[in-house]
């Protein structure tokens, strides 16, 4: 069993088995990131395919002193942003769901199985489509992928203050969209407390 650095070294010399293993290790992360930035799973598959082909062709030029995941996130986010920009306004307007309900009011073990990720995803894809691609990418990396602000800045090649600004704008837009279009999605007590403060 080869560890990740060994897989990277072997894959960079043209070892297909090592590269396949590397793809298996990283594919979900790449697809999920591309999905959240493009808002469409099929588009994310196209982006991910391009990312891994680029990886195969350029792995011998990868600087091993840098964190591999940071490099991979960077390639993925750039490819996804390029894809969104190339696509233009197509697909940015999606219909509202007929009956957005409070998906998160339940509690207890196994709640994860009952969470309607589909509805949550639909709401995010629809609302995030109104964000600038870089705001969206910053939000996805920080809030969904769980990276630190400094790491997001490295991935996006910008200053931390720029990332914070992107996040501020993204949260503001998403909050407004949730209140306007998905009033049932957030537990009512949350909204009540928020409006009281």
């Amino acid at each position: 069993m080869r560890d990740e650095p060994q897989l990277i070294r072997d894959a960079s010399t043209g070892d297909r088995a090592a590269f396949d293993e590397l793809v298996r290790l990283k594919r979900e992360r790449v697809v999920r990131t591309a999905y959240q930035v493009t808002g469409d799973l099929d588009d994310a598959m196209d982006v991910a395919q391009g990312v891994f082909i680029k990886l195969w062709q350029g792995l011998d030029r990868y600087d091993t002193r840098r964190r591999f995941d940071t490099w991979l996130y960077r390639v993925t986010v750039n490819a996804a942003i390029d894809f969104v920009r190339g696509r233009g306004p197509k697909g940015t307007i999606q219909p509202l769901p007929e009956d957005p309900t409070d998906l998160l009011a339940e509690s207890g073990p196994g709640i994860e199985d009952r969470l309607d990720h589909g509805a949550l995803q639909q709401a995010f894809s629809r609302l995030a489509a109104t964000l600038a691609p870089k705001q969206r990418a910053a939000f996805v990396l920080r809030e969904i992928e769980g990276l630190d602000t400094a790491e997001v800045a490295r991935v996006m090649g910008v200053a931390e203050s720029t990332v914070r600004n992107h996040l501020f704008q993204a949260r503001k837009t998403l909050r407004a969209g949730l209140e306007r279009d998905y009033p049932g999605l957030v537990p009512k007590t949350s909204r009540t407390r928020k409006s009281e403060s």
Partner: protein, 165 residues
């Protein structure tokens, strides 16, 4: 972890480290009370729960198959490119060996051209030596002579800007 999150963790969620935010996220997935308090700080946190949204396994397998097929298509090009580099390296080595061979051969049996160069180089009054590099006068302009001694073999390289190739 205690039954519920501390007020501090909920209020300062955004400034926590990545690991601590992951812990909070793990907790609020299953605890409605903490989740409500956590969302009260910022509704947009709701979308952080997408971190746990699974990508269907069959889609990921499709992706692997597509990547395999795509690499099979691009690999011959990569191989050709790498072979090209290798061929260029071999050609450069052969050329260097040929040049050195010719120089050494000429050194043992002076050819008319070398005689001509000797005439240019051997002008003691015009020589100026700088750390093994001699500046000499050529018929039209200044030339540099690099005198290398490899064991018993002497290699003389002359750089003359006035010579047009």
């Amino acid at each position: 972890m205690s039954d519920h999150l501390s007020r501090h963790r909920i209020e300062d969620y955004d400034s926590l480290s990545a690991e601590r935010r992951a812990d909070v996220l793990e907790h609020v997935r299953d605890c409605a009370g903490c989740r409500t308090a956590w969302l009260a700080e910022d509704d947009s946190r709701l979308f952080a729960l997408l971190a746990h949204a699974p990508i269907p396994e069959h889609k990921l397998d499709q992706l692997s198959a597509r990547i395999d097929a795509a690499i099979d298509r691009v690999e011959p090009r990569i191989r050709t490119r790498r072979l090209g580099y290798a061929a260029a390296s071999v050609a450069a080595s052969l050329l260097l060996a040929a040049v050195l061979g010719a120089v050494l051969w000429n050194h043992e049996t002076p050819a008319p051209m070398l005689t001509h160069l000797d005439e240019i180089v051997v002008q003691p009054a015009l020589e100026e030596e700088i750390a093994g590099i001699k500046l000499v006068a050529s018929p039209d302009d200044e030339a540099q002579v690099l005198d290398l001694k490899l064991g018993e073999t002497q290699v003389l390289m002359i750089f003359d800007e006035s010579i047009e190739l």
